[in-house]
Symmetry: C2
Subunit: 363 residues, 2 copies
DNA sequence: GTGAAAGCGCTAACAG
DNA sequence: CTGTTAGCGCTTTCAC
């Protein structure tokens, strides 16, 4: 792969620490000290070492050799659900990344984005990553890449899912409780005919209605729990969950949200509230609803989940979760680990944001 | 720094390839082959090796040791102007990152975000990064981190700035020509009283008016060239550039754009057009203008630069640049380098997007 | 299909 | 303040 990296610059065969030492007539230790422990040698000698290094074109200690010797890479690996580039398209992931980057820079650690091939086939990238630990962002159950991470003898912190992995710290939110709260809000408003739009429940594509069984066996724990929260909340209000239509979309885009909305209302024109398990889907649904001439919230209630900036601009009723804090906490959990023995789970607070897209059902 | 990473998992002292070989009674080569060249040994033996590895808890070849031996890290380093986390706050940087990530994942390379300390003091992070090459995103002239990158004997690709670095490939746009085109558009509309809002011109904070001398000596080449383009374009239309107020802001936020706008119009209430060197600043200016009761574009023209999604939503007249393509091209330039001898510069096209915030001056 | 030899380039005791 | 000693864990010709 990287054999392509043979430019002019890399061709410049460089001197090594040993050759520099030989040239100077000092020991390797001295040269090493000149770089790593300036206080261990006289300023004059240090200057001479550094000057000679410059003259010989010695670029300083090789980072990989140093890592091998010191047993630390100075970097945190990040494993993401989707292809690497997806991280930069999803506003929630971006906020998470920002928080994680903050923790890394506080610590002087690099952040290595591990390239997981789209087809999730080559687990090798995980095995090849020179890192001191991994942060894993929202992986489905039974993911091979995640399994590969667990093979590595380094600490791991998971964000969101999967939960309950032995010896692994986790940071997340209480997805289920957050959705119960939202359901109560909606039920309190009087909604009984509801429909749901959710993200993918499995790694196999299913763009359409999801049965209760499929919901219960979703490989994405976060979606599973959000749906479970809705079920609990609405069931408590007397709604028969088995009769609640749930439309699933594999792609997480506004367009997907919009056409999922269309699919939902075509079959269930009577719903008074459309609950979406993400803001992106909700924003799409909102667009779809308006395109269909529906008045939100007068005629129809639509809600999201996440609390992204665009949701705020759109006045979307949603559940806000602290994505940036999750990233920072994940980084800190990984980096600042003291003598902690047991693995721990950090649950961050969520907040129901009642805004302008929810109201009582039209009568 | 990373000594903190001593969790339970990392404590599990792992077997090495050598100890595995000893246990199996085969040579290290054989074990190595079992992992790296499955075709070099019998399936039966390979199975035995892998099984024993599992039993002994051998996690597979150590990536750092392998990198030392093979002389490749399997990762690209990314150096950014600002603190690492800033990258996730700037929509242009995010798009660039997405493109770069795309190129990396195509190549199976990791992407290492190098932690540059906010105070830009410790250049060590660059020296310590185990990477096969660097992509440098928009650095000021004479930056120490960039200098440290050039010390490393690996290929380097610069995006945007600085230009004209020997032996370094570059991808960018023609900032100056793009701005000439915008100036011509505005001059063609009839604007002669213009004001400018620009990003930081130097690493020292100057939130206020920038003299022509300061403009000409800006350490940020991109800003320098955009201003030069405006100067050329407006001068050609008969405007005395020396009389054109240029307000500089260190922070790149909408809030900064809004108050820069206020500062500009307070001193120069007669301007009919406010040209901003970025969309973020322009969006802020737009907000400031509306807060001040100005009608855009009826009463005042405002333009941006970059073509971010928010600018499109706002109907902002701007210059679109292909940020994602820049990222991808930078990655490809670094990764796909054939036998190329000379360094090359790739200039991508820009496009003037005339939308709803520019019009003829009020009369 | 398998093994022996030879480092990759560096750092960390520890002794002087 | 400087040098000696000993690897860190792995891959890769090149014979057998």
């Amino acid at each position: 792969m990287a054999e392509a990296l043979e430019g002019r610059r890399s061709t410049r065969r460089t001197a090594t620490l040993a050759s520099l030492a030989a040239e100077l007539g000092v020991s390797r230790t001295t040269v090493s000290n000149a770089y790593n422990r300036p206080d261990q040698l006289s300023p004059a000698l240090r200057r001479r070492v550094l000057d000679t290094a410059r003259r010989l074109g010695y670029p300083g200690p090789d980072p990989v050799a140093r890592s091998l010797r010191t047993r630390k890479a100075g970097a945190v690996g990040l494993l993401l659900t989707e292809a690497l580039s997806y991280a930069f398209r999803d506003p929630v992931a971006i906020q998470f990344l920002e928080g994680l980057a903050l923790a890394c820079e506080d610590n002087g650690s690099g952040l290595l984005l591990v390239p997981v091939s789209p087809e999730a086939e080559d687990v090798g990238a995980v095995a090849r990553a020179g890192v001191d630990g991994f942060v894993v962002y929202s992986m489905p159950d039974d993911d091979e890449h995640f399994a590969a991470v667990l093979e590595r003898p380094v600490p791991v912190v998971v964000c969101d899912q999967p939960t309950d992995v032995p010896d692994v710290d986790r940071v997340g939110i209480d997805d289920q409780a957050a959705m119960v709260e939202l359901a109560e809000h909606l039920a309190g408003l009087g909604h009984r005919q509801v429909g749901v739009l959710c993200m993918r429940l499995s790694t196999d594509r299913n763009d359409g209605f999801a049965s209760v069984s499929r919901q219960d066996h979703a490989r994405y724990e976060v979606q599973r729990r959000r749906l479970a929260g809705l079920r609990d909340g609405f069931t408590a209000a007397g709604v028969d969950w088995g009769g609640v239509p749930v439309v699933e979309r594999f792609d997480h885009t506004e367009a997907a949200g919009a056409n999922a909305f269309d699919q939902l209302v075509e079959r269930h024109p009577d719903v008074t509230a459309v609950v979406c398990t993400s803001d992106i889907l909700a924003l799409g649904a909102l667009r779809g609803a308006r395109a269909a001439g529906r008045d939100v919230p007068g005629d129809l209630t639509i809600t999201g989940f996440d609390g992204v900036p665009a949701a705020e601009r759109a006045g979307l009723t949603t559940v806000r979760q602290p994505s940036l804090d999750k990233g920072r906490a994940a980084g800190e959990l990984l980096l600042d680990r003291g003598d902690r023995q047991r693995s721990r789970t950090l649950l961050l607070p969520t907040e129901l944001m009642v805004r302008a897209t929810s109201g009582p059902p039209a009568r």
